[in-house]
Symmetry: none
Subunit: 189 residues, 4 copies
Amino acid sequence: MALPRSGPVRSEHARRAILQATATLLAERGYDHLTIEGIAAAAGVGKQTIYRWWSSKGDIIAECLLEGMVVPGRGELPDTGDIRADLTRWLRDLADMLARDEGELLLRSLIAAAAEHVEVGRRLRDVLAGPESLSGRLERATGTVPNLPRGAPVEEIAEALIGALLLRALSRSPLQPADIDRLLRAVLG
Amino acid sequence: MALPRSGPVRSEHARRAILQATATLLAERGYDHLTIEGIAAAAGVGKQTIYRWWSSKGDIIAECLLEGMVVPGRGELPDTGDIRADLTRWLRDLADMLARDEGELLLRSLIAAAAEHVEVGRRLRDVLAGPESLSGRLERATGTVPNLPRGAPVEEIAEALIGALLLRALSRSPLQPADIDRLLRAVLG
Amino acid sequence: MALPRSGPVRSEHARRAILQATATLLAERGYDHLTIEGIAAAAGVGKQTIYRWWSSKGDIIAECLLEGMVVPGRGELPDTGDIRADLTRWLRDLADMLARDEGELLLRSLIAAAAEHVEVGRRLRDVLAGPESLSGRLERATGTVPNLPRGAPVEEIAEALIGALLLRALSRSPLQPADIDRLLRAVLG
Amino acid sequence: MALPRSGPVRSEHARRAILQATATLLAERGYDHLTIEGIAAAAGVGKQTIYRWWSSKGDIIAECLLEGMVVPGRGELPDTGDIRADLTRWLRDLADMLARDEGELLLRSLIAAAAEHVEVGRRLRDVLAGPESLSGRLERATGTVPNLPRGAPVEEIAEALIGALLLRALSRSPLQPADIDRLLRAVLG
DNA sequence: TACTAATCGAGACGGTACGTCATGTCTTGGA
DNA sequence: TCCAAGACATGACGTACCGTCTCGATTAGTA
């Protein structure tokens, strides 16, 4: 497998190396220690190659989010028909991930990036609470349980759940299983 | 018997100038453009005077939060007895504030600071959702409405509301009056 | 005429601007008021460009000496065949230069730099008393006058003359014409 | 032994501690690493006590020179009647001292101080080459040897000898015994 | 005897400069 | 035309000292 060096067309190899390095460094060092020079060095790439295609750190992170390179839990929301049980399991898995390794650091890094960069904010919301994820699952569940009738404000329910998660990450109070139960009681009655 | 402490004493004037400059610059320029040198210059103070008493930008911001110098909405949560009406009004006022001036920039700056600095995170949660603010108001309202019985998970309800607000700030989707109604329907039934 | 900007090779334009600024500031402000930041500002250059190529103020001054940018009297030692007359004229010119303008400040600055930096010390001695300057002229004169026979310790004679000059600069007692005559009598009999 | 603490009269204890600390630090760390704060700390003294009585580092060093606290060789110039032998021995002792320990660092520190501070310059010259030291000894020897007749320029001879010594210290070329012989040949014929 | 006034150790203050790190722009030479 | 490499001007970092300024304690001389 040849390693492409340069030429008149954009190097996909360089692009992926940059995104991969960004995702790795973001999880390992945190957003405030993430530097363009560090990304370039880790990716084995010249700085100019980064600036040619992206305009800022946030821009790269936004693309990482699009490619699903930073949030591992994407799309794993189960669908057994029992919406409360599914949400319980999903939130517990998320909480476990945050409690382990660099999970919380990564989430806080994404929040910091979102706070500075528009597109990261939008995509972070979409990935975590958007129609292809949480709010879509909720929409499909409307009408199956008393507390989630047709026409329920699924977008806001999703935002409330994810927002509570973020707030817990910011205040460094990990969600315990009992907290998750109470949280679901709060938004699903 | 008091032990005599020799040497000059800390300048309260310098301390307040630094906190004030930090609060002002944070709202005006945002967290990522907030620099220690900028604070020192705006406060008319030497850098060393800052480093002598605080260890980082986050440390100063945390003290600003303690002193109530950055969050304008503190304590204004009304209490008319009608919890839903009170929350509606309070959230509308907050949303108005965010929509105006540098409100959203300030909130995103606080989120960025919280993402990097432990103490900012804790205090931001306390100021916005804590027992002396939102969750306390909710606790007092338990039992007065069907959807908020005694023993309701008020902490989680508060976190869900505030979390949704933060997520909207991050995704730059200002809360409209209709959104607020739906959000309250989501958490209060 | 194009002004060279930057690139992957060292900028000769920046190098010369730095040396020139150093020589100028050294003569104008003195060694103790010479700062890297001042040099950078006067040369229109970033500090890092200085630190990339030199390790200290002394290092830059040593290079200035190599390029002949600080000691104006270099190589002007006359050679009429009459060594005593030549030395008298040369020393008088030097003394005049020191008495004028910033001459003495410059010499004291070079001494201060030499006292701290090895290479400046060596090069200062070479420029003032070395074989390509004073001691060389003396060597060529051996055998032409009774008091300077072949095998005379020309190196030490040169060092004694220049050393006396430095000591006078340090004690702020400018060499008068009569002093020069006595000094030459001391070392040439 | 009572340690005097404070009162309305100047503390001789503090004065001597400051001079001693200055002399010690000058020999140990060199002039450029000598700081007022370092002196105060080493002397166990407040900064203001230094600034109350001296105006600068050079001022303290000048007083150290007056008190004979830095130049150990003072007054040891022997007088056996044989001026050349006496000078040879004296210069060899000086050269030995410079070669040992921090001797050269101390001399270069004094030169650096002299280059910046008028009074240090004057006193350094007096201590090393002045009438109470070298030039006085030379004056008394006039008429005893053919090469040092009455009326010989003893001041200039002394300056030439000491100047050569300083220049060697600056160029880090220690005087060897053979160098000393040649130097004496240069100035005494 | 008490008071006054100068001095002491200590150290906070507004600053300047340090040497380092990262920014975003530019240029080189190779593919 | 793109790439890796890296020099450039800029600007912020956190540290070390500068010289000035209190602070409370100490103590010699005056009241």
